[in-house]
Amino acid sequence: MTEATLAADAQTTSPDDQSVGEAQSLSQEAWKELRRNPLFVISLILITIFVVMAIFPQLFTRINPNDGVLAKSLTPPSSDQWFGRDLQGYDVYARTIYGARASILVGLFATFFTSLLGVAIGTVAAYYGGWLDSIVMRITDVFFAIPFLLGGILFMSTFPNTANSSYASIVGKVVLALSVLGWPGIARLMRGAVLQVKPNEYVLAAKALGASPWRIIRSHILPNAMAPVMVVSMINLGAYIGAEATLSFLGIGLVAPAVSWGVAISDSLPYIRQAWWFLVFPSIFLSLTVLAFIMLGDAIRDAFDPKGR
C-alpha cells in the first residue's frame, strides 16, 4: 500500500488536494514482481522459442523431417547435419524441431481440459456443498486413485494409435488420456480454494445485496480462487509434456507419422553406444521445455503469494 492511498478519513478535505495513487490490483503488482524475476524472464524466452518452433518449424529448418536417406544412417553431427542423423537417415535437428509441435500441443490441450474440468467440478462441489459435494468428490477420489502412468498405459493400449490414424486423432487420444487422469488434482485444489473464499464476508455481502448464484461464482468466487489452480496448471503443463514423452517412449503414445521427442528417444535407445546424438538432442529439448514450464509456474506462484513480499 502506498502512502498516497492512505487518504485521510476526514470529510473536510477538499477533493482537489487528494493525491490519488495509481490503482493496482494484485495481478498488476504480481506482474511488476514477475518482470524483475530472472527465472520468469528466462522461462518465458524459452517457452516463446518453443512455441514459435511448434507453430512455424519451417523458420528453424528447411529440411523435411520425413526425408530419410538410408545411406546416411547414423551419421554423426557435422556442419551438414548439426545433430547428426538417426537410424532411418532422418535429420535429427529437423526432427527435434518438428517434435516440439506434438509435445506443446499435448501439453497445452491436456492442461486446458484438466483445468476446465477440474475448475468446474471443484467449484460446483465446494459452492453447493452437502450431498452434491460428497458424491462429486468421491468420484474424484476414484479417479485420483488411478496411478497416472498406469492409467495412461491402460488407456492407450486399449485404444491404440495405429500408423494410419490421422494426426489429430493420434494427438487427441493422448490428450484425452491425460485429461481423464489429470483433472482430479485440479478439482481438489479448486474445491479447497473455493471453500476458503466462500466464507469471506464479501461473498455474504454480495448475497445480501441480491447477487445471483452465478454472478457470485463468476465475480466473487472464481477471481479469488483461481490463483493456485493457475500456478499448478502451469507446472502440470510441463509434467504433461513429460508424460506424453513417457507414453511415446513406451511405444503407446504418439506414433509415426507424428514426430515427437518421446518417439525419438524411444527409437534411439538400442543405438545409444554407437550414436549418442540420436538420444541426447531430443532429450535436451524435452528437458528444457519441461523445465521452462515448471520454472514459469514457480515464478508465478511466488509472485502471487503475498507472504513472499
Partner: protein
C-alpha cells in the same frame, strides 16, 4: 437524489402498510451441529417502521447477527434451520417467498452492511466496479451509466476525489473509507430497510462517530427503517429510537431509547448499563456482570439469565418469563420487572 428515491418507491411492488416495514413474529433459528442442536434464536418478535431506528443490543452469541442474517435470508441452511416464525416485509412473508423473488428483494428493498468492511469488499475488483455491479445486476444498466451512478454514490458518502478513486482497489482505502463504500453499495438501490451489523466495530472511535453520523443522515434523507446491531451501548444512545436487548436468543427487554437508559426494566439491561465506564464515577471498580452467557445447546430452564442474575429466586429457575408490557410502549421478560423498575 430525491427523484431517484421517488421513482424507485413508485415502481416497487412492496408498499408499507401504515408505515410498517418489517414484522418479525416468533422467529426461531436452530443450528444443527455434530454435538446437538443449538437454539440460537428462540422466539423473537419485533417490528420496524419507516424512518425508525431499532437497535438490537446484546453480547456475542446472543443471536443478534443471526437475527439479521435470518431477515436477509443469507443463513447457511443447513446447518441453520428456521423451524418456526414469520418475517413479514410490507405484509409479505419473506420466509415462504420463492427464492428467486426473495433474492430480488435483497438490495432494492432490504439491504445490509457488515462489520468488517475490508473483508466485505472483493479484493480483486475496483470499488467502483463493485458499486456499479448493483445497478447492473438489479437495474440492467450499461457499464458507463452504472459507473456514473457509482461516482455519484461515492460522492454522497463523502469519499474525497470520488471520480479518481472509482477505479481504486479496496486495499487502497482506509478502514473508514471502506465502510463508506460498503454503505454506498448498501444504499445504492434505495432500500426501505437497512440492516447494519456492527458497522463501526472495526473502526477507530473518531471514525465511528463519522460513520454513525453518515448512517443517521442517510436514514433521515431516505426515511429508511434502520436496524442497528451492536454490543456497544455508547454507539446506539444518540442514534436509535428503540432498543431491543437480546440474551440467549430472546429479546429480554424492548423500549424507547430514553426509557431504557433512564430506567431499565430487566436486570440484564441494568447490568449492561452499569458496566459502562462513567466519568463521574472515577476511581470506583467497574460493575461487570459475572459469569458467561449460557451454552446455546443447554439453555438453563426458566429464565436463561438466572445463573448470572443477582435477583434470581426459585421461580426464575423453573418458569420462563414472557415478554410482557411493563409500561407505555415498553416490555420486559422478567418476573421481577416491577422491582427492577422501582429499584
Amino acid at each position: 437524489m430525491a427523484t431517484a428515491t421517488a421513482t424507485s418507491a413508485a415502481t416497487s411492488q412492496y408498499q408499507p402498510q401504515d408505515g410498517r416495514l418489517l414484522d418479525v413474529e416468533n422467529l426461531h433459528v436452530h443450528f444443527h451441529t455434530r454435538y446437538g442442536t443449538a437454539t440460537v434464536i428462540n422466539g423473537v418478535n419485533f417490528t420496524l417502521d419507516q424512518g425508525q431506528t431499532l437497535a438490537i443490543l446484546g453480547e456475542s452469541g446472543s443471536g443478534k447477527s443471526v437475527t439479521a442474517q435470518a431477515i436477509m435470508g443469507i443463513l447457511d441452511m443447513p446447518p441453520a434451520q428456521i423451524p418456526e416464525g414469520v418475517i413479514k416485509y410490507c405484509g409479505q412473508d419473506l420466509l415462504t417467498m420463492p427464492e428467486e423473488q426473495r433474492r430480488k428483494t435483497r438490495g432494492p428493498e432490504v439491504s445490509m452492511i457488515f462489520q468488517d468492511a475490508l473483508s466485505s469488499l472483493n479484493p480483486t475488483f475496483p470499488v467502483g466496479w463493485q458499486i456499479a455491479e448493483m445497478f447492473r445486476e438489479h437495474r440492467g444498466m450499461n457499464k458507463s451509466d452504472a459507473y456514473a451512478q457509482a461516482v455519484r454514490l461515492m460522492e454522497r458518502v463523502s469519499i474525497p476525489a470520488a471520480k479518481q478513486r472509482v477505479k481504486a482497489y479496496p486495499h487502497q482505502f482506509s478502514g473508514g473509507m471502506r465502510q463508506r463504500i460498503m454503505i454506498a453499495m448498501a444504499i445504492a438501490l434505495d432500500p426501505a430497510v437497512l440492516i447494519a451489523d456492527e458497522p463501526t466495530t472495526a473502526l477507530d472511535v473518531t471514525v465511528q462517530a463519522q460513520i454513525m453520523g453518515l448512517l443517521q443522515e442517510l436514514q433521515e434523507e431516505r426515511q429508511m427503517g434502520l436496524i442497528l446491531i451492536t454490543h456497544d451501548l455508547g454507539v446506539v444512545a444518540d442514534v436509535a429510537d428503540r432498543i431491543a436487548v437480546m440474551y440467549a436468543g430472546r429479546i429480554v427487554e424492548q423500549a424507547d431509547v430514553f426509557d431504557i437508559y433512564s430506567r431499565p426494566a430487566h436486570p440484564y439491561t441494568k447490568g449492561l448499563l452499569e458496566s459502562i465506564p462513567r466519568l463521574d464515577l472515577k476511581g470506583q471498580e467497574l460493575a461487570a456482570i459475572g459469569g458467561l452467557p449460557p451454552n446455546l445447546m443447554r439453555i438453563p430452564p426458566g429464565c436463561a439469565f438466572n445463573p448470572r442474575c443477582a435477583m434470581a429466586q426459585d421461580i426464575c429457575r423453573t418458569e420462563r418469563p414472557h415478554l410482557l408490557e411493563v409500561g407505555p410502549n415498553r416490555s420486559s421478560a422478567c418476573h421481577f420487572s416491577k422491582e427492577v423498575l422501582g429499584a
